[in-house]
């Protein structure tokens, strides 16, 4: 069943990237989609957990919030850059990611890195080592707004 979903997603992706509706190029597209599907099928046999695509639009609920966070913390870091960069007081700490579902931990670590001012240095079982330009960012992360956000959006069907 998920093969059909992948076929649709890949076909749409190919069409968006190419934009040519000519028989020759369309057939190239079909060949590449089929090739990817064959590889996917074989990979599913190796790894018994098949790669699902979520049909719900979770990312659309998450991205605007993340972009808001990026903007506010970018302004903060930019102030430090143009102001007095010697006054930065970097801090490093371990942050628990127990509440984040296993499949979303990479997303959590990437969101931390993507937000300027915090950088995920190491990702262990259920702890992320975070380096921050200022201690306040670590306290903010420890309060867990981002964690709850991700757990709330991706944790539903766990």
């Amino acid at each position: 069943m998920h093969i059909v979903k992948w076929a649709a997603v890949l076909a749409i992706f190919w069409l968006l990237l190419s934009g040519f509706i000519e028989p020759l190029l369309l057939s190239f597209g079909v060949i590449s989609v089929v090739a990817v599907l064959v590889v996917l099928k074989r990979m599913d046999e190796v790894e018994h957990e098949s790669s699902q695509i979520s049909t719900s639009l979770r990312l659309i609920r998450y991205l605007p919030w993340l972009i808001g966070q990026i903007i506010s913390s970018s302004i903060h870091v930019t102030k430090l850059i143009w102001g007095s960069p010697d006054k930065v007081s970097p801090a490093i700490a371990k942050i628990s990611s127990k509440d984040v579902p296993l499949s979303s931990r990479v997303l959590y670590a990437n969101s931390i890195t993507l937000t300027p001012g915090t950088l995920s240095v190491d990702l262990e079982e259920d702890e992320i080592t975070v380096h921050a330009l200022h201690k306040s960012s670590i306290d903010e992360l420890k309060q867990g707004e981002m964690e709850r956000k991700i757990a709330g959006i991706w944790g539903e069907n766990k």
């Binding site: 968006l16 990237l17 990026i70 850059i81 930065v88 890195t113 993507l114 380096h131």
Partner: protein, 110 residues
């Protein structure tokens, strides 16, 4: 169209400013880890603003979709690259500024 052009130029100019800030920060910040933070300003907000500005310049066709794809891929790959850099630096034994400053040490040993 004029309104869109104005918004788009504002976004592009803001993107240039943040990109430049990231580059300046790369030189002004004191150690490796803080410099990665400066670079991530360029990675994240400058990329978002510049691609946002370019999006408004397209005529909302296939190019728009391609730009959105570029933005999505950048948002996945650039933090991964920063993470790889920081992780290898840490595992290579590079200490952060907080750990080399003796007066802060007690906070981090707990």
């Amino acid at each position: 169209m004029l309104f869109l052009d104005i918004v788009s130029s504002i976004l592009l100019l803001a993107g240039i400013f943040f990109g430049l800030s990231g580059a300046v920060g790369l030189f002004r910040f004191p150690d490796f880890f803080t410099r990665v933070h400066a670079a991530s300003v360029t990675d994240s907000i400058a990329a978002i603003l510049i691609i946002g500005g370019l999006l408004l310049q397209t005529s909302f066709d296939l190019n728009t979709a391609k730009l959105v794809f570029i933005l999505l891929f950048l948002m996945v790959t650039s933090p991964t690259a920063s993470h790889a850099l920081a992780k290898s630096a840490r595992h290579g034994g590079l200490l952060t500024l907080a750990e080399t400053r003796p007066e802060d040490k007690q906070e981090h040993t707990q």
